[in-house]
């Protein structure tokens, strides 16, 4: 009895003291989910990417005006066909563990993605277009692409292409212990509590401008985020739930930040299922959708009604496209023409957080005679059902899927190809409604191999028109990126799509 109570006291005493106290020079950032890996090449989540960003760099980087700038590569050029790309690397860069950064490190970084046996989470896309990566000399690398790929340079700034220490990768520790070349390095990772990042004194770019330490925490509870900002437990919260935006905006101790985002929300219609195989029915659903109402009801106004499958920040977006107006009579007429004068019944699957979206659509479509059965699902269950093949969806009676996609500033191809290209039909890709339109495939392939930007964007305008006409999706809205900071925090910005950038942030 005695020894067990002693043990209990010991356990409590041990747990009481955590080594990290809040420091003025610590920037506390709170996000909605825990990091999925310390290896940027083994995860694809926006919020993990934000947390890894101060510690890792790629050959190129994106500046806050969204242009591409040199990072670990100082200059680059391609051949006329856009197939062979040569990069000059920056001299005098070392990883946090002392490993030198050079052509060998770049080659090893890409080799791990091109090796299917590694099965890294972010490799898939690179393997579709990179043929090989070789060292020309110790500070020059050459990429050979399988086919021209307009998003190539943009992708070099993202997760899969950020440079990890090849020594740490070979040791197998990179997943739990980040080792990059960035201005901050990993100080401590307590998987249940926080990730702490400290300044890298040996940074090639000189002493980092930002705060002394960055501490990342996370909660899945929106109201806790709001409270953490109020108490000062968090200096930055991202993304801010729209429900709290007005309250934050009214508080002089805090700053609400909103900017054009890149996540397009939509409802993918199962084009293999009757009556959704009829384009008139799909158009009718588009006419029956009050987008402005959705933006108000679901997003508290912090979103833009969608008129295109692309977000306004995506290169190639055409703002002149005529979106479907809200017109119940037109919807009814189209349904009658298609042979459903009394409407029909269909289902949609939504993840828990989007459940209200489904319910609002249900009410809107009811006016046109469409009875929508909203099936709410936990995210893991939803992912399985959403990526089911045509037979699976037929069996489950899945008429549509509510989802969103954010290719953001990385190019229109990354929005069109996964969502609408015929070979991306689920489960192979995220074409969840099995849309098959050879005309669109052709335009997308042509755009992907067009190096001239204005000619390429003209092709993407064509593609937007095809998608709008054929209506494989009911396009809903593009969200704004919302985040909030304490008033004394400066230098935070967000890449459209929600990746928060804090490495240059200061706090006074």
């Amino acid at each position: 009895m005695k020894s067990s109570s002693l043990l209990a006291i010991g356990v409590i005493a041990g747990a009481l003291y955590s080594p990290i106290a809040a420091l003025a020079s610590t920037l506390n950032v709170m996000q909605t989910e825990a990091p999925r890996s310390m290896d940027p090449g083994d995860q694809t989540a926006t919020y993990t990417a934000a947390l890894l960003d101060p510690m890792y760099e790629g050959l190129l980087a994106r500046s806050s005006d969204l242009t591409l700038k040199p990072a670990l590569a100082t200059e680059w050029k391609s051949d006329d066909a856009g197939l062979v790309w040569t990069f000059k690397l920056r001299e005098g860069v070392t990883f946090h563990d002392g490993t030198p950064f050079n052509a060998d490190a770049v080659v090893k970084n890409f080799a791990r993605h091109l090796d299917p046996k590694r099965g890294l989470a972010a490799s898939g896309r690179l393997r579709t277009f990179i043929d090989s990566v070789t060292a020309v000399d110790p500070m020059t690398v050459q990429f050979k692409l399988k086919h021209p790929y307009p998003a190539f340079l943009a992708l070099l700034t993202t997760g899969a292409c950020l440079m990890v220490s090849p020594v740490a990768d070979a040791a197998g520790t990179i997943g739990s212990k980040a080792v990059g070349t960035g201005p901050y390095k990993l100080a401590e990772y307590k998987s249940g509590e926080y990730v702490l990042e400290a300044k890298n004194p040996n940074y090639w770019g000189g002493a980092p401008k930002g705060v002394g330490e960055i501490k990342w925490t996370w909660t899945s509870e929106p109201s806790v985020m709001n409270m953490a900002l109020q108490t000062g437990d968090a200096d930055v919260v991202s993304p801010l739930p729209p429900a709290f935006a007005k309250q934050i905006d009214a508080n002089p101790d805090m700053k609400l930040n909103k900017s054009e985002g890149s996540a397009v929300f939509w409802l993918a219609l199962n084009t293999k299922l009757k009556p959704l195989d009829d384009v008139r029915v799909r158009q009718a659903l588009n006419y029956a959708t009050d987008r402005a109402g959705l933006v108000k009801a679901i997003m508290q106004g912090y979103a833009t009604p969608a008129n295109s499958p692309l977000a306004p920040v995506t290169p190639g977006y055409d703002k002149t496209l005529a979106s479907y107006t809200y017109d119940v009579d037109k919807a009814k007429k189209l349904l009658a023409d298609a042979g459903y004068p009394n409407g029909f019944e269909m289902s949609t699957i939504v993840q828990e957080p989007d459940a209200r979206l489904g319910e609002v659509l249900q009410a809107m479509w009811a006016k046109a005679g469409v009875k929508l059965d909203v099936r709410r699902m936990e995210s893991g269950v939803w992912a399985k059902a959403a990526f089911a093949d045509p037979v699976g969806k037929q069996t489950d009676g899945t008429g549509s899927v509510v989802a969103s996609w954010s290719s953001g500033v990385n190019g229109a191809d990354l929005q069109f190809r996964p969502l609408y290209y015929s070979a991306s039909a689920a489960p192979a890709g995220a074409n969840l409604g099995f849309f098959n339109e050879p005309k669109l495939d052709e335009v997308l392939d042509k755009a992907a191999s067009t190096l001239d930007e204005s000619a390429r964007n003209a092709l993407y305008v064509q593609a937007q028109k095809i998608v709008n006409d054929e209506a494989p999706h009911v396009l809903l809205y593009t969200t704004q990126d919302l985040y909030a900071t304490r008033a004394n925090v400066k230098g935070v910005w967000v890449v459209p799509g929600g990746q928060i950038e804090v490495k240059d942030a200061t706090k006074n």
């Binding site: 009481l16 393997r127 806790v224 893991g380």
Partner: protein, 306 residues
Amino acid sequence: MKAYIARKLLALPLILIGVSLLVFLAIRALPGDPARLMAGPEATQTAVDDMRTRLGLDRSLPAQYADFAYGAVRGDLGMSIKSKLPVVSEIGERLPYTIALAITSYLLAILVGVPAGMAGAIFRHRWPDQIVMLLAIAGASIANFWLALMAMNTFSVSLGWLPLLGATSWKSYILPSVSLAVLPMAIIARMTRSSMIEVLSQDYIRTARAKGVPAVTIYWSHALRNALLPIITIVGLNFGSLIGGAVVTESVFNWPGIGRLLVDAVRYRDYPVIQGVTLVAVTGVVVMNFLAEMLIAALNPRIRFD
């Protein structure tokens, strides 16, 4: 008695094997695919298949279970799919926080619940009893989650008295312990009340009263000792529900315990972590039940085990 203990101890491994098999199969029966979740929505099917191979999920279920069981016997619960850390060290780091929270909550529940229940019994059908019962009903029916958020908003945000999140000082224990203690406190108060009422109507109490034994001695020494049995039973057997409550409380308060670990693991279908945490939690419940039974037997020699 000894034979009973021996039998119980022998049954423990069998229970664990049964539970581990059940958990192993149950999480694999859950819809949702860890390879798909890890690879992300943008992954091609080939990439998802590569991921599945890497995680060893393409092998047969018996092979996967054999691997898990063989590892568990050697104290190796595998690697977390998400954090890439050994499950044993993940649990080892978090378990003390959960145990510490459980102990403070139960102490609180007993220290408040027992006297409250006694007061209810002593002042039966009078106003102290009515207040205690009203609070007990409220405590048993209120949503833990809602209570936690209200408490945070009041004591951390508005008044600024207590830390909002995490486990940083002794003050961090107050809000999570209280919100976790409310349910067992209510149950203990009701149990204590009804068992005290029963004891107080017994002949020996009436005799003691007639002999002029002071009321304090009667209540605390004669009656409470006999009323303790059901209380211990409740405390021991409700350990499982405490773990359940910890899942919610830890998530709301960002408490670095195994409850929060489990929630995260379920979201990402992190099979090794789900298996590990469940195994540890079930072991805890089985051991607590066993200890409660032993304690009851020790306190009440009339209980026979055969």
